[in-house]
Symmetry: D3
Subunit: 68 residues, 6 copies
């Protein structure tokens, strides 16, 4: 499937932490580590685990810009 989200970055999962209903997944995309908060159900459904190839996907309207 190809998705309308403008930001799809391939990488490798470095950490999966499951909570009561919500999990945190860290993914390394070319040296940059992105933190994702998704449902435990998604972690199980996609069999996400450290070391697996995966992509971080972010809709353009969810990206803010900051300046110093």
């Amino acid at each position: 499937m190809k998705i309308s989200a403008r930001n799809v970055f391939k990488g490798k999962i470095v950490e999966v932490t499951k909570g009561a209903t919500t999990a945190h997944v860290k993914i390394d995309i070319g040296g940059i580590v992105v933190t994702s908060s998704i449902t435990n159900a998604a972690v199980e459904d996609l069999k996400l685990a450290a070391g697996k190839q995966a992509s971080a996907i972010i809709k353009a309207s969810d990206v803010m810009i900051g300046i110093d």
Copy 2:
């Protein structure tokens, strides 16, 4: 200001495209280009322009994971 968003990536703006009310800003963070959709008002307020240093900021709950 320090922000709760888990993803704050420093980089350089490579393109700013203003629309009627919404602008698209592309920012290069270490070789990865992130596309952001923000208000024209934010572009003007922060004086965003190609070549300027800036950060892409993304809340963890706005990051999805995809696998092939």
Copy 3:
């Protein structure tokens, strides 16, 4: 690609309206019409047009519940 978003609903595009930078896409998923606001760039990249098969994708944390 398989995605962590819990809501992926197959359907058919019924309308695409492009603005200056932001487009609105309506997609019929089994009799329910979902309205999506995405970038013009995504519409062009995915060649979205009325009559094409497509899926509406929504992260669980973006769904609210209302009661009467």
Copy 4:
């Protein structure tokens, strides 16, 4: 109250799962089951439970489009 969100779909709650702070609510809207991630506080405040009538509410800017 009438809301600006373009997607308001009436249905019936089929499952409520509470976690430590975050709950997952599944709602059937005409044969399509939508998964929502909301606060436990909202579940208590709205007295959400399986079998109750409710609507799934989604802002257009939170809907992505995917194609195969």
Copy 5:
């Protein structure tokens, strides 16, 4: 309708600016002016205009925290 979003603040619309597809609405909630970006279709459907009573509605997962 009562909504799961934890943040519902009553106020008065102070400005409506329509773009090609996306509108910006400013609403004063007790001296604080909140800026909202919604579809033009929502503005027309709800007949939003400066001076009208309205509420700003924000899901808890869309609120970040910053410290100086």
Copy 6:
């Protein structure tokens, strides 16, 4: 850091509730209490606690409008 988000409201934290992975933070901005759902990691990183000065930050595209 200055941020593109149109809504940055200074206030004081009134409550921090940590869950398994997700925390809820309530912040009083001039008499209005805003509820935020962020990662436990953010609470620890920013040392958020009741009584501390902080800002609520909300992107314009995450604000909906409701009318009675």
